[in-house]
Amino acid sequence: MLPDLRDDFPLLARTVRNGKPLAYLDSGATAQRPHAVLHAMDEFDRLHNGAVARGAHLLAEEATEAFEGARASVARLVNAASPDEIVWTENATAALNLVANGIGNASMGQGGEESARFRIGAGDSIVVTQAEHHANLIPWQQLAARTGATLRWIEIGDDGRHRLEQLATVIDDTTKIVAFTHASNVTGVVSDVAAFVARAREVGAYTVLDACQSVPHLPVDFQALGVDFAAFSGHKMLGPTGVGALWGRKELLDVLPPSVFGGGAIKVVTLEETTWHPAPTRFEAGTQPVTQAVGMGAAAEYLMALGMDDVATHERRIAQIIREGVSQMPGVRLLGPIGDPDADEVLGLATVVVEGVHTHDVGQVLDDLGIAVRVGHHCAQPLHKRFGVTGSTRASAHVYTTEEDAHRFLEGLASVREFFGVPA
C-alpha cells in the first residue's frame, strides 16, 4: 500500500479558486511532478549540461551518462530487453508517428530489402479500434491514404469493451498492422492485449500499442505482452512535458526506416547518400530533449521505488470509490463498465455524462469547488460518437490521489444538477 505522497508533489500544496485546496483529478491529461523529478532536471542543468555523445570533455561525458542512464531507467520500468529498445521522442504522438511514417517510408522503398518486411500497399489493411485516442488513429488514417491500404476497426460494445469476436473477421490475411490502446483514456477499460496479439500473430501483422494510460498506472512488461511497438509519454508518468518514448523489439527497430533526418543518427554521410546507425540512434536526429529525458528517467525510478503493484493497488481503491459512486448517482451516466478493479479491468478514472448539463458547465462548477477535471471529448471523438454524446467529464487518479479527493469529486458532481436547476 502506498503512503500519502502529497508532500512529494509541491504543486499539490497550492490553493486554487477562492483559496480552496486543490483536488487534482486530471492526471489522465497530465500528471504532477514529484521533487525527485524536479530535482533531477535542476541538478542536470546546474551541474552536468553538455552535448550528449559529441564532446570529448568531462561535461559531455556526464551529460551522455545522465541521458543514457535515464534511457536504462525507462527500459527497466517497461521491461525492455535492453535500453537500445527505448527511443526518445518528443511525446507519445511523435512515437506513434515515428512507427507509421517509418512503415510509410519502407513502403516507398526506403531501407531496401532489409525494410521490405514493413511494406504495405493497396490490398493490405491496417486495423485500429473505435476506442483510440486521435494520436493512435490519425497517423494510421494518413498511412492508409498514402499507401492505398484500407483502414478497418474493431468496434466497442455497449458495455464499453472491445467486441473481441470481431478480431477473427476484421483482422485477416490482408492485415499488416494492428494498432490499439492498452487502456482507454475515456472508459478506463484495459484491453485484452493477449487476444489482439494472438490474432495479429496468426496473420503475421505487426502490433502497435498505445501505452500512454497504462505505463503510468499499471505494472507493464512489453516483452510479456508480446507486442512489437509501444508508445508512452513522460508527462503522464510524473515526468516533464516535451519527452516521450517508443519501445520496439530491437530487430524491428534496427530495420525500420527513420522519418526525421539530421545529425547524430547517421553512420556515414556522403554528398550522395547516408547510412543510418542501428536503433535507437537512427531515430534520434538532432539535439534531443536531454533535460526532459533525465526527468522522465527520474520519474521511472520514482515509480519503480514505489512499486508498480502498489501503485496499481492504490489506484484500484480510488477507482472503486469514484466508479461505484458515480454509477449510483441519479442523472449521471458512467461511460463504460463499472468493471472489476481487482481484476485490473479498469484504470483509476471515471468518465461521466451528466444528464441535462453540458460538460463545460459541469467542469466549471467543480472548478469553483477546487476540483480539477477534464471536460470535452478527450481526443476520442469516435468513441464519444459511439456512446451518442459529444463530450464528457473525466476524473482521473494517480499515485498522489487521496480518498478525500475522490469523495470531494462525488460530492461536487452531486451538486451540479441542482446548481443548474435540472429536475432530479
Binding site: H358, T359, H360, D361, Q364, V365, D368, G376, H377, F420
Partner: protein, 160 residues
C-alpha cells in the same frame, strides 16, 4: 455573489432555456447568409442564418448545441440585433468583445446599457477558457452577415 454565481447569472440561465431564435427557417429576404461555427476544444457548434433587408438585420435563426454559456449568448445576441441596423449590430459586437476582455468588470460607460442582457456575461471574462463559448454565436453572426452581403451583392449584379 461568488465568481461562479456571477458567471451563471439568472439572465443567462433563462436565455439558455428560452433559446430565442432557435430553429432554422427559410427566409424570404433579399440577402440571406448562413454560417456554421465549431468550438474545436469542446465540440460546441452553431449554424446561424441571417436575413438582411437593406442595412437592417431583419431575421436571425439558429440551431446549435453546447454549454449554457454558448447557447445563452446566441439567444441574447438574437434579441439584441434583430430589427437593428448593421452598424448598431457591429457596435454591440465590439462592446461585447470589450466586455469579454475586461476580466469580469463592467465596462463602466454607456456601452453597458447598449449590451442589455448580454451585459450579464460579464463574469465570463474571468474565465479565459470560456470566452470562446460566449463568442461562438457572434462569430457565426458576423460570418453569416458577410455571406448575406456577398449573396445580396451578387444578386444585385444579376438584376442589373
Amino acid at each position: 455573489m461568488s465568481s461562479l454565481e456571477q458567471m451563471y447569472q439568472q439572465v443567462i440561465m433563462d436565455h439558455a432555456r428560452a433559446r430565442h431564435g432557435a430553429g432554422l427557417v427559410d427566409l424570404d429576404l433579399p440577402a440571406v447568409g448562413e454560417s456554421h461555427q465549431v468550438n474545436t476544444t469542446c465540440g460546441d457548434e452553431v449554424t446561424l442564418r441571417v436575413g438582411l433587408d437593406g442595412d437592417t438585420v431583419a431575421s436571425v435563426h439558429w440551431e446549435g448545441q453546447g454549454c449554457s454559456i454558448s447557447q445563452a449568448s446566441i439567444s441574447a445576441l438574437t434579441e439584441l440585433v434583430e430589427g437593428h441596423s448593421l452598424e448598431e449590430a457591429d457596435e454591440v459586437y465590439e462592446a461585447f468583445r470589450a466586455l469579454m476582455g475586461n476580466r469580469g468588470e463592467d465596462l463602466g460607460d454607456d456601452r453597458d446599457d447598449m449590451l442589455g442582457d448580454a451585459g450579464a456575461f460579464v463574469g465570463v471574462g474571468k474565465y479565459p477558457a470560456r470566452i470562446k463559448c460566449a463568442l461562438l454565436g457572434w462569430m457565426a453572426l458576423r460570418d453569416a452577415v458577410a455571406q448575406a452581403q456577398a449573396a445580396g451583392g451578387a444578386e444585385g449584379e444579376n438584376d442589373g
